[in-house]
Amino acid sequence: MSDLRELYQEVIMDHNRSPRNYGSLEDANRTAEGFNPLCGDQLQVYLYVNNDAIIEEVRFEGKGCAISTASASIMTETLRGRSAEDAERYFQAFCALATGDGETFDQNLDLGKLEVLNGVREYPARVKCATLAWHTLRAALRGDKTPVKTE
């Protein structure tokens, strides 16, 4: 059980129980849908990006496991107020963290709370749960119309 706690850290449990920035965003100007066909998880990401390419608002909505819900929730906290360019750097860094791929890791970036999700690298079947929100965010920033799939 003790090593399960490394995956399901208290911060993750907390964000799963009470996800931050949950719900739709009426004046969103970027949205995308993400879908994990393996487990049926589904998620929407809503963004309001201003003229200076700053993410002023970011919210999410959907059904998912503790890992995907917590990941989405922490992502929204991390990205609010950051530039779209920063978001891309965080995307790269987070994917490297989740897959345990140290090579592409950006040392200058403080991942903060996102670090609690590093336990998923021990669970290959769960990595996609952690990265679904991030892939969906990226699709929203790029204006992709087709839903994101994690397979």
Binding site: L4, C39, D41, K63, I67
Partner: protein, 419 residues
């Protein structure tokens, strides 16, 4: 939380579980430091030594291509390949080996019928009928057929216990219904459908019936003649046999009337550029070099299961199901999905406040293999308003003690998630 009820924990008389478990090498291993409990039989069952050895034996001694040579090995391979066809015929009580077509699995069997029979006998005004509880492999081939032919796909709903609503079935059947495609046992719910009555009703309406037997053959004895079905499909790998091999049973008169599906070697009598003459049944539907080793392994699996006796297997699994169901009823925060009165050994459930995926990870940590997800039956998930369920599906080698392990792990998941 779950206190075991006074359900007997002894195996059915006649089924020696210790001996049976010794027949399955894969069961004897640790996963995450715990002895493996394999409860994902609905997805694919494990293989007894007899199957594994039979395949090795075939490759060590007798392999050659079938129906192709006068040499000794080719004859031996052909004998083994055709010998199994007779076993399959007897196993499902078909009348003739002409009615037994080897395919890759249930999915391919259904696609064969949808393509060949469907293309020849289904037209624009016609209807094809499936149920709301079908596996995607018994939905999508019919959707493709309907797209090609402009026929209409109709769906028989089920109620909240997971039983088909037969009055609705009766209403939907009509003289335009060409094909009814139903599963005998639902992989997501465990429901055993009254296919015999449903087949009779379909025949009264003039339709032919395909039964998806993927989840039925491992659990109960099947008699296609008594069922009077027109097509029956199943997969070897769910019957303790190899992957990559399955069977399509088809009524001889129908198979005769159907055009070939794939073209190639084996399925021809004479090839000329001004017209090719097709081979007789069942070879007309077996183009190309088949999975000979798979067939040989399937034969060993049938021998194994028939040797234990499907009645005893069924009795044992029903005891497991009853025990698991009773424990589930006592477990707080657990909802069983699929509560039909007639069920095969499948327990689909969800736990309050814990996503099935997380349950799956916790159970895996305890060495317990279950399936989590939509079980290739998304319409079933939609009916119950859940994205996914956890599914424990029992096989002939599972024990009451393993069900105790399952519930012990469920306790741990609930504890971890504070439920």
């Amino acid at each position: 939380m779950g206190v075991p009820t006074s359900v007997s924990s002894s195996a059915a008389p006649g089924l020696d579980l210790d001996a049976i478990r010794n027949d399955f090498p894969v069961l004897h291993q640790q996963v995450h430091g715990h002895p493996l409990v394999y409860l994902d039989n609905g997805a694919s069952a494990q293989k007894p030594e007899a199957v594994i050895q039979m395949i090795a034996d075939y490759y060590c001694k007798d392999h050659a291509n079938v129906h192709r040579g006068v040499h000794t090995l080719s004859q031996r391979a052909t004998d083994r390949y055709e010998g199994v066809r007779g076993k399959v015929r007897d196993f499902i009580h078909a009348e003739s080996t002409n009615e037994i077509v080897y395919v890759r699995g249930t999915t391919e069997a259904i696609n064969l019928v949808a393509s060949s029979y469907g293309q020849a006998f289904v037209g624009p005004e016609d209807e094809v009928l499936v149920t709301e509880m079908e596996h995607h492999s018994n939905i999508v081939p019919w959707q493709l057929l309907c797209e090609r032919t402009n026929a209409t796909l109709k769906v028989v709903p089920f109620d909240d216990r997971g039983e088909l609503i037969l009055d609705r079935y009766r209403d939907i059947l009509n003289e335009r219904t060409r094909i009814v495609a139903i599963t005998q046992v639902s992989n997501a719910l465990g429901t055993i459908n009254p296919v015999r009555d449903m087949i009779a009703m379909a025949h009264d309406a003039g339709a032919v019936v395909l039964v998806d037997g993927a989840q039925a053959v491992p659990h109960m004895s099947v008699d296609v003649t008594a069922l009077d079905c027109d097509f029956y499909a199943f997969s070897g790998h769910k019957l303790y046999g190899p992957t990559g091999i399955g069977v399509l049973y088809g009524r001889e008169s129908l198979l005769d009337a159907m055009p070939p599906w794939q073209g190639g070697g084996e399925m021809i009598m004479q090839v000329r550029f001004d017209g090719t003459e097709y081979n007789e049944l069942p070879y007309k539907f077996e183009a190309g070099t088949p999975d000979i080793a798979g067939v040989v392994g399937l034969g060993a699996a049938i021998d194994y299961v028939a040797g234990l006796g499907l009645d005893l297997i069924d009795e044992h699994e029903q005891q497991l199901l009853a025990y698991a169901t009773a424990r589930a009823a006592e477990q707080s925060g657990m909802r069983v999905i699929g509560t039909a009165s007639d069920k095969a050994a499948i327990l689909s459930f969800e736990l309050d406040g814990i996503h099935p995926h997380d349950v799956g990870t916790v159970l895996d940590h305890e060495g317990i293999a279950v399936r989590t997800g939509h079980h290739c039956a998304m319409p079933v998930m939609e009916h119950f308003g859940v994205p996914a369920t956890v599914r424990a599906s029992f096989g002939l080698y599972n024990t009451h003690a393993e069900i105790d392990r399952l519930f012990g792990a469920i306790d741990k998941a609930q504890e971890l998630f504070g439920q």
